[in-house]
């Protein structure tokens, strides 16, 4: 199922049929149920980086701006504490760490106030997690080197 961002309409509003707007809203509301593969994390990532196929791509793509990484970080930070399940909260924690790593490696920016020890621990857990895609673990490994050498 293709991702549908929050129901959108024409800026003018009145030119759009209200039945279409309601139809969009119904589809949107039931979208996650209809497509279990579409996780909350992916939905969130696409709200911020619409062209990304999933959260991992949104974070690791070289085209993702620093501003977008900051937004992704905030989104995953919230999902980390308010996610629907333990699995979702755990995934959000990994993605949160991954955005920090991407900002460091792609943009040479530290976008958190966490101390280096905490950062290293988060990046190490990310590299050790074999459920994470290689591109994310590689990014975390580079971030570990970056922090250690700084």
């Amino acid at each position: 199922m293709n991702h549908e961002p929050t129901p959108s309409t024409s800026p003018q509003g009145s030119s759009r049929d209200s039945a279409e707007s309601l139809s969009d809203t119904l589809r949107w509301a039931f979208q996650l149920d209809a497509s279990p593969a579409l996780t909350g994390a992916t939905w969130l990532a696409r709200e911020i980086v619409p062209d990304a196929s999933d959260a991992f791509e949104a974070i690791t793509a070289t085209t993702t701006s620093l501003a977008a990484l900051r937004e992704l970080k905030s989104a995953f930070k919230m999902l980390r504490s308010c996610g629907a399940t333990t699995a979702e909260r755990s995934l959000a924690a990994r993605l949160y760490a991954a955005t920090l790593a991407a900002a460091l490696i792609r943009h040479r920016e530290l976008i958190t106030s966490q101390d280096p020890a905490n950062l290293l621990r988060a990046f190490t857990e990310l590299t050790d997690d074999d459920t994470m895609p290689d591109r994310v673990r590689d990014l975390a490994a580079l971030a570990i080197d970056f922090v250690r050498n700084k």
């Binding site: 009145s14 919230m78 629907a84």
Partner: protein, 269 residues
């Protein structure tokens, strides 16, 4: 209005208010619990129980916009459509015709309701008597009309069936949204409600979409947090929406099919 209807009408002050003033569904309007199905509420409304008045109020509140839209899109003026809607609620709801049919036919409330409105309009005698009731029941104010949902502009050139289904779904969405608002506010999470209202509800109801940047600026939060709040509210909204649609089907197993039908009906011209 015959004597028995008049007695029932007089005995239900809350309904008189509903009929005389129209039914304005606003996000801040307290709603009765929709845990009962529409059929259960209709039977309760006719039962004379201690909750009959609340049941009648709740079901009339939900049905009003769709009934009005069907009548209006059938070519009646605002005033005539308002009167006919009032007449339909007084005659059919209070007259128990719909309740009897509901017991006989069972199935989807939507189908039953639209069929009953169509038949009501085809009954010229009732239409005439409904019009003569106007002075006694009063006309709804323009303000109240707007609350029902911008009918005047939106219904031009729209078939009665499409108008009905649009308002019917709109009422369900509003009911679910109203419950979401109460839940989020009760949780001290007003900001999530505001994000949801600005990002989702406004687009659904008025076609006016607001971007994350604008909302984030308005609320003083960042865009990422904004999106996360929408996601969390979306999940609760979907659950409430399901519960609301479930009240309109006799068998819970019909939920998915009813959603599919509503989507198809909204998509058809």
């Amino acid at each position: 209005m015959d004597a028995s209807l008049h007695d029932a009408y007089e005995a239900m002050p809350r309904l008189r208010i509903v009929i005389a003033q129209g039914v304005a569904i606003e996000m801040t309007t307290p709603q009765h619990s929709m845990s009962q199905t529409n059929w259960a509420q209709m039977r309760d409304a006719a039962s004379g129980s201690s909750t009959a008045q609340a049941s009648l109020d709740a079901i009339a509140r939900r049905a009003w916009p769709a009934i009005y839209a069907f009548v209006r899109a059938s070519g009646h003026t605002n005033d005539a459509a308002t009167d006919l809607t009032q007449g339909f609620i007084a005659d059919v709801f209070l007259g128990r015709n719909l309740i009897e049919k509901a017991d006989q036919e069972r199935g989807r409330f939507r189908t039953l309701l639209m069929s009953a409105v169509r038949n009501y309009l085809n009954d010229s005698h009732r239409r005439k008597t409904a019009v003569t009731r106007t002075p006694a029941l009063g006309l709804r104010s323009l303000h109240a009309m707007h609350d029902v949902g911008h009918e005047v502009q939106d219904l031009a050139g729209v078939s009665p069936e499409r108008a009905f289904h649009t308002r019917y779904v709109g009422a369900i969405v509003r009911a679910a949204a109203s419950r979401l608002q109460r839940e989020l506010v009760a949780d001290g999470n007003e900001i999530s409600w505001e994000v949801f209202r600005m990002r989702v509800l406004q687009a659904a109801m008025t076609g006016d979409v607001r971007g994350y940047d604008e909302i984030a600026n308005a609320l003083g939060i960042d865009k990422g947090t904004c999106a996360a709040r929408v996601l969390l509210a979306k999940r609760r909204f979907a659950k409430l929406l399901k519960e609301e649609i479930l009240t309109t089907v006799e068998d819970p197993a019909d939920l998915d099919d009813e959603v599919a039908q509503l989507l198809a009906l909204l998509g058809s011209r």
